[in-house]
C-alpha cells in the first residue's frame, strides 16, 4: 500500500482545523470546535484457501460545531475539498441561526483543556504489503480448517491494517492531535455434524502488529468455538445461575456505562437515576477507567472536547463514585464534565481469584453464556431479555451446548447479584473483565 505520511497529514489537518475555526469566526460564530480525521488502510480477506477481497480504505472527515451565543449548529463532510469545507461551515452557521437558545450549549470550559500530552504509544505502522497480508490471513484460516474434519466451510479470514491521524481544535486556542494505528486479524468458520451447522469466530486487535495474537491461535480458537456449539439443545424453562463468559460480560459493563452516562441521566432515562454514592454492586467490586494505558485501544490524553482525561474509579467497593459526562450533559446536571465526551476509555473491573474452571465449580449447576443476540435491554427500567447460546453445566462441569433460549432479568438486580468475577480476561478489546457469575436469571426455552 502507498505509505501513510502521518506527519504531513497531521500538519495538513492542523492547518485545516485552524482555517475552519477562522472561517467560522468570519461567518459570525462566537465560538467553534472542529474535529478532522484521516486514515488509510488495507483489508485482505481469504476464503477456502484463496484470496477473496482486497480493499484499500482511505477515509477523510471533518466535523464542525459553531456557536452563536448559545445557539448551536453542526456540519460534517467526508470530503476535504475547499468547496465541501466551505459548504459545511456555511451550513453549520446557517443552522446555528435557526436553533433555539440553549443555556447549556458551548465549548467545554477553557481551564479544563488538556495541557499535557504524554506519548501513549498509539502509532505503530505496519509495513505489510498485500502478499504479506494475504499470507497471514491464509495461515490463520488454514489453522482453523485443519483443526478438525468437522470444520467443513469457512466465511474466511481477514487481516486489517491501518493508520490514522485525528486533530481536534476549538476557539479556546486548543488544537491538538495524534496519529494512531490499529491492526486486526479475524477468522470465521463453520462446523458441521449431521444436521447441525454452527458458525463461530475469533479475532485479535492491537495498536502494534507485535501485540497481535498468533494467526494459528486465532484460527484454532475460531474452530474450537464453532465445534463446541455443534448439536446444541434447548433447555426447559427454569430459573438458574448464569455465568457470562468474559467477552460477553464486557457488554454488561457497557450497559453500566450507558446507564451512568450524561444523556441518559439528564433525560431521566436510566435505571441508575440518583445512584451516585449508593451501592450498585456487592462491596468487593471495583471498576476503573484508565485513559493512559500504553498502546491501549481507547487511550487518549484528551476527550472529544479537548478536556483532559483522568484515571478514576467509577465504582469503588460496590459504590457508584462517578458518572460519565461531557460538558453539555454536565451543565444540564449542574455538575463538572468528567472528560468523557466521546465515551469511556479503557474500562476495567478488578479481577477475582477464580479462573474459568473454578467459576464453573462455584456455579455447580447453571448456564454459561457465550453469545447473546438482539438488543433487548430497556435502559430506563433495566429490564433485560436477550437471546442466548452457551453451555449447560452440572456438578461444575460443562455437559452440552445449548441454543435457542433466552435469559431475562433486570440489570439493577443482576449487578447486585454478582457473585464472582473471574481472572480469565482472555479476549481482545479495550474493556478488561473476567467472566461474571450472576446468582439467578430466568431462562426460557421449551
Amino acid at each position: 500500500m502507498r505509505a501513510f505520511d502521518h506527519k504531513a497529514k497531521y500538519a495538513q489537518l492542523q492547518q485545516l482545523a485552524e482555517d475552519v475555526l477562522a472561517e467560522a469566526g468570519r461567518q459570525g460564530a462566537s465560538s467553534a470546535e472542529v474535529a478532522a480525521h484521516s486514515d488509510m488502510g488495507l483489508s485482505a480477506t481469504v476464503r477456502l484457501g484463496e484470496p477473496e477481497t482486497i480493499e484499500h480504505t482511505r477515509d477523510n472527515s471533518l466535523s464542525i460545531s459553531v456557536y452563536m451565543g448559545q445557539h448551536k449548529g453542526s456540519a460534517s463532510t467526508a470530503e476535504l475539498s475547499t468547496a465541501a469545507i466551505h459548504e459545511a461551515v456555511s451550513a453549520a452557521c446557517s443552522i446555528a441561526k435557526q436553533t433555539a437558545e440553549d443555556p447549556c450549549a458551548g465549548l467545554a470550559d477553557a481551564e479544563l483543556m488538556a495541557t499535557e500530552f504524554p506519548d501513549l504509544e498509539l502509532y505503530h505502522p505496519w509495513d505489510i504489503d498485500i502478499e504479506g497480508a494475504l499470507e497471514m490471513a491464509l495461515e490463520c484460516e488454514a489453522a482453523a480448517r485443519d483443526y478438525d474434519p468437522r470444520i467443513t466451510n469457512s466465511e474466511g479470514a481477514t487481516l486489517n491494517t491501518g493508520g490514522a491521524v485525528g486533530v481536534y481544535g476549538n476557539t479556546h486556542g486548543f488544537v491538538h492531535g495524534y496519529p494512531s494505528s490499529r491492526h486486526s486479524l479475524s477468522c470465521s468458520v463453520i462446523a458441521q455434524q449431521g444436521e447441525s451447522m454452527q458458525r463461530d469466530y475469533w479475532y485479535t486487535s492491537a495498536r502494534s502488529a507485535a501485540a497481535l495474537d498468533a494467526a494459528v491461535d486465532i484460527g484454532e480458537r475460531a474452530a474450537q468455538r464453532a465445534i463446541a456449539r455443534l448439536d446444541g439443545r434447548k433447555l426447559k424453562t427454569r430459573q438458574a445461575p448464569v455465568l457470562f463468559r468474559a467477552e460477553i460480560a464486557a457488554g454488561l459493563l457497557g450497559s453500566l456505562v450507558h446507564a451512568i452516562s450524561g444523556s441518559a441521566l439528564y433525560r431521566r432515562a436510566t435505571f441508575l437515576l440518583d445512584a451516585l454514592d449508593t451501592p450498585i454492586f456487592p462491596d468487593w467490586v471495583n471498576i476503573e477507567e484508565n485513559p493512559f494505558v500504553m498502546q491501549g485501544l481507547s487511550s487518549a490524553a484528551f476527550d472529544a472536547e479537548g478536556v483532559a482525561t483522568s484515571r478514576r474509579k467509577l465504582v469503588s467497593e460496590g459504590i457508584l463514585k462517578g458518572y460519565v459526562l461531557g460538558s453539555y450533559s454536565a451543565r444540564k446536571l449542574d455538575l463538572q464534565t468528567t472528560g468523557n465526551a466521546g465515551g469511556v476509555r479503557n474500562l476495567s473491573i478488578q479481577m477475582g481469584e477464580l479462573d474459568f474452571d473454578a467459576l464453573l465449580k462455584t456455579m455447580h449447576t447453571g448456564l454459561v453464556v457465550t453469545e447473546l443476540m438482539g438488543q433487548g435491554v430497556n435502559a430506563i427500567t433495566g429490564d433485560y431479555s436477550r437471546g442466548a447460546s452457551g453451555f449447560w453445566v452440572e456438578n461444575g462441569e460443562i455437559q452440552y451446548p445449548v441454543e435457542e433460549i433466552t435469559i431475562a432479568g433486570n440489570l439493577k438486580t443482576m449487578f447486585q447479584q454478582l457473585q464472582a468475577v473471574g481472572n480469565d480476561d482472555d479476549y481482545p478489546g479495550s474493556t478488561r473483565t473476567g467472566s461474571w457469575l450472576i446468582e439467578s436469571m430466568m431462562i426460557a426455552g421449551e
Binding site: 477473496e52 477515509d59 470530503e79 440553549d102 424453562t237 433525560r267 430497556n378 431479555s385 431475562a408
Partner: protein
C-alpha cells in the same frame, strides 16, 4: 435523470463519459471479468428537539467514487473522495491488482437504459423551510405532551437525505438515480411515581418532508409514542417459555427479515453458509406463506429505481405457498451461481462493496379475520411492536425484541406485558404459521438493516399471523 446527475456529480470535477470509459478500460485486464465505478454525492440534514427546544441541527456531506474489479470469486476494491481523473485512475490501478495484470480490454459503455421512476427526483432538504421544520417538531412535541400529564420528556428528530448516484460498469451499464429519503422519530418518556417508561414511533419514505404534515402523520407519531409509553407503565412481567404468538400487521414483519430474509441472500447461499443453502424448491414454510422482496413500491423506504449496480429493481418471490422459490442476488453472486441479478446489489456508500441486500420484504395477505386469529389462542402473546432483531444465518437462530405486547387469555387480548425477546429457528418458524390475516400492512418507514458493518434502509411488512410456538424471553 442521467444528464442531471452527470451535470451535478461529474461536471464539477471536470469528468465526462469518455473519462468513465478510460477508467473502466484501465480496470479491465484479461483476468478481470467485471468492473464498475460508482459515483455518489449525498447531503443529509437532521434536526433534534429536546426539552422543548430545537437545540441541534446537523448537516453532512458525502462524496466520492468506489471502484471495483472482479476476477472469478476475487474482488479488488478502492475508493476516493477526490473525483479527479488521476485519483480515479490510481484507485482503478489499485483495485485491479487483485488479478495479475494482463492485456487490456476495451470497454464500451452502452446507451443508458431506462427503468421505473418510483419517487420524485427532488431534494427533500429544500421541501420545507428551516422555520417550518422547526415548527413541525414543536407541533409534534406539544401533541405528545397533550396526551397525558405523565409525559415528561419528548425527543423528536427530523432527518432528510438527498442521495445522487451514478454507476458505470464493464457490462455496458451507465445509469444514475436520485434518491430522496426522509424520516421522523418521536421518543417519549413518561413518569408515574417511581416508575419510568418509554415509547417510540417513527415513519418516513422516499418523499418530501411535507409527508409529515399530510394526514397529521407527524402528530400521529407523537400520539402513538405517548400511547406506547403509557401502556408500558402498566405492563406486567412477560411470561417465560414456549407458547403461541400472534404478531400484528406491519412492522412485526421484522420476523420475516430476520428469520428467512437474510438466509435467502445470494452470497450466503453461494458459499453454503446459510441454513437455507441447497434447499431451493423444498418446502420451508406452511402453505399459507408467500413472501416477496419488492424494491418497486412507490416512495417506500426500501425501494430503489435501480440497485447500486444499476440493475432495475423488481419483485422477487422468495417463498410461494411454502416452497422456496428464489434468492436475492447481486451481479457477482448471480454470475457465480449462473443466474441473473434480482436488483438486490446494494451498498452503504461509495466506500463500501455492494452485496445482496433486502429492499422491502413482506408476506402476502391471507384470508383470516385478525380477530378470528386472536380468538383462536387460549394462552399466548399478542405482539404488535418490535425493536430490532438479529439472525445467525448458519444455525438459523433469530431473535426479535417486542416493545409492545399483550397477553392473550381465552381468546381475548388482556394485560400489556413488558418488552421481551422472542427467539426461534428460521427454517422452522414459518412451518409453524397456522393462520394468516387479510390485513397486510407495510411498516411506517423506519427500518435499518445491518450486514457486515454496512447499514441500508429497508422495509418490512406482513398481515396479522399466528405462529403456533415461539420462545418468549420473559421473567415469569
Amino acid at each position: 435523470m442521467l444528464e442531471i446527475v452527470e451535470q451535478q456529480l461529474l461536471a464539477p470535477a471536470g469528468l465526462e463519459q469518455r473519462h468513465l470509459d478510460l477508467v473502466l478500460d484501465h480496470l479491465m485486464g484479461h483476468q478481470i471479468d467485471f468492473a464498475d465505478v460508482y459515483f455518489q454525492s449525498s447531503r443529509l440534514e437532521a434536526w433534534t428537539l429536546e426539552d422543548g427546544i430545537v437545540k441541534e441541527g446537523a448537516y453532512s456531506i458525502e462524496q466520492g467514487a468506489g471502484i471495483r474489479a472482479i476476477s472469478g470469486e476475487k474482488t479488488g476494491f478502492a475508493y476516493t473522495d477526490e473525483l479527479q481523473l488521476p485519483n480515479l485512475l490510481e484507485a482503478a490501478g489499485t483495485a485491479r491488482a487483485i488479478a495479475h495484470a494482463g492485456q487490456n480490454r476495451t470497454v464500451a459503455i452502452a446507451e443508458a437504459s431506462t427503468g421505473h421512476q418510483l419517487y420524485a427526483a427532488t431534494n427533500p432538504l429544500d421541501t420545507l423551510s428551516g422555520s417550518d421544520k422547526i415548527a413541525l417538531l414543536h407541533q409534534v412535541e406539544q401533541e405528545a405532551r397533550r396526551q397525558d400529564p405523565r409525559v415528561k420528556q419528548v425527543i423528536a428528530n427530523l432527518v432528510a437525505a438527498y442521495d445522487m448516484v451514478l454507476v458505470a460498469g464493464s457490462d455496458g451499464v451507465l445509469r444514475s438515480d436520485i434518491r430522496p429519503l426522509v424520516r421522523m422519530n418521536v421518543h417519549v418518556i413518561v413518569e408515574q411515581g417511581d416508575l419510568r417508561e418509554q415509547g417510540t414511533a417513527g415513519a418516513g419514505g422516499r418523499t418530501s418532508l411535507d409527508f409529515f404534515n399530510h394526514d397529521e402523520r407527524g402528530l400521529e407519531l407523537a400520539r402513538d409514542a405517548a400511547r406506547q409509553a403509557l401502556v408500558n407503565l402498566r405492563a406486567v412481567d412477560a411470561p417465560a417459555g414456549s407458547m403461541p404468538v400472534v404478531l400484528g400487521p406491519g412492522w412485526p414483519g421484522v420476523l420475516l427479515h430476520e428469520a428467512i430474509g437474510h438466509g435467502l441472500e445470494g452470497d450466503f447461499n453461494r458459499k453454503g453458509t446459510s441454513a437455507f443453502a441447497g434447499r431451493m424448491g423444498e418446502s420451508v414454510a406452511s402453505p399459507l406463506c408467500t413472501v416477496v422482496d419488492d424494491g418497486t413500491l412507490a416512495e417506500r423506504r426500501g425501494s430503489l429505481n435501480m440497485d447500486d449496480e444499476g440493475t432495475t429493481t423488481q419483485q422477487t418471490v422468495l417463498i410461494e405457498k411454502g416452497i422456496l422459490k428464489g434468492y436475492m442476488q447481486d451481479k457477482h453472486n448471480a454470475s457465480l451461481m449462473g443466474v441473473s441479478s434480482t436488483g438486490n446489489g446494494r451498498r452503504e456508500s461509495y466506500a463500501h462493496l455492494p452485496m445482496p441486500r433486502m429492499t422491502n420484504t413482506y408476506m402476502l395477505a391471507g384470508e383470516r379475520d385478525p380477530q378470528e386469529i386472536i380468538a383462536s389462542v387460549k394462552k399466548g402473546l399478542y405482539a404488535v411492536n418490535f425493536g430490532g432483531g438479529q439472525v445467525d444465518i448458519t444455525s438459523g437462530k433469530f431473535v426479535f425484541s417486542a416493545s409492545e405486547a399483550y397477553l392473550i387469555e381465552n381468546g381475548k387480548v388482556t394485560e400489556p406485558v413488558k418488552g421481551a425477546t422472542l427467539i426461534g429457528n428460521g427454517p422452522q418458524v414459518l412451518n409453524l404459521v397456522s393462520m394468516v390475516g387479510n390485513d397486510l400492512e407495510l411498516d411506517a418507514g423506519i427500518g435499518v438493516c445491518g450486514k457486515e458493518g454496512q447499514s441500508v434502509p429497508v422495509g418490512v411488512g406482513q398481515p396479522t399471523l399466528k405462529v403456533d410456538e415461539l420462545t418468549i424471553g420473559g421473567t415469569v
